[in-house]
């Protein structure tokens, strides 16, 4: 079974602070993704990666950076967190056929 682990599971941050969300996958998938999901809406793609060293902008990249230092790890970085970034963040890895999601990180920016 594909495994995607996110940390932390919950995070409270202050406006203007730096936040790093981490994702680790043991599936040896080339592709990894960061989505956010807001109540009443579907997931929206922030950044994605095709492999170590690569990051690509998704549909809503503003205010976020990403880092893929290795095949297994993909981080999402909020350099200056804002209350509008309060959301649930999902990391996923996958092949061309399907995506496997982590359990999500609930971020609150106060």
């Amino acid at each position: 079974e594909a495994a995607v682990t996110q940390s932390p599971r919950n995070k409270v941050a202050v406006t203007g602070g730096k936040v790093t969300l981490s994702c680790n996958q043991t599936n040896n998938h080339n592709n990894m993704y960061w989505y956010r999901q807001d109540t009443g809406h579907g997931l929206r793609l922030i950044h994605y990666s095709y492999g170590a060293g690569s990051t690509e902008k998704g549909d809503i990249p503003d205010g976020y950076k990403a880092s893929r230092p290795s095949q297994e790890n993909f981080s999402l970085i909020l350099e200056l967190a804002t209350p509008s970034q309060t959301s649930v963040y999902f990391c996923a890895s996958g092949t061309g056929d399907t995506l496997y999601f982590g359990a999500g990180t609930r971020l609150s920016v106060l």
Partner: protein
């Protein structure tokens, strides 16, 4: 951009009954996936379809790329089926998915 219109936004079923969820696409999609978000917040893969239909237990899904829609049928609903169901479609072979807004399914005794 690509849009996925999912309906209904909420659905209430009694145990043992069934219904269908639907997603319409504003453009031709190459594949669709269905997910369920359970009470713990985890997203569970239900189906991946590039065409045709698939069935798994009490769930059945269909995808028609030409007509730009996909459906998820639930029969004999059980309490544990409650959750939020999402469809997600990809237009190109990049793994980038566009999600519908979800259907909140509540199954009642």
């Amino acid at each position: 951009g690509d849009q996925v219109e999912q309906s209904p936004s909420a659905l209430s079923l009694h145990e043992g009954t069934g219904s269908a969820l639907r997603c319409n696409f504003t453009t031709t999609m190459r594949a669709v996936q269905w997910f369920r978000k359970n009470s713990r917040g985890s997203l569970i893969n239900l189906f991946y379809l590039a065409s045709g239909t698939k069935e798994n237990g009490r769930l059945k899904s269909a995808f028609d790329s030409k007509e730009r829609y996909s459906t998820l049928h639930i029969r004999d609903a059980q309490l544990e089926d409650s959750g939020t169901y999402f469809c997600a479609a990809e237009r190109t072979n990049t793994g980038k998915l566009t999600f519908g807004d979800g259907t909140v399914l509540t199954v009642k005794p």
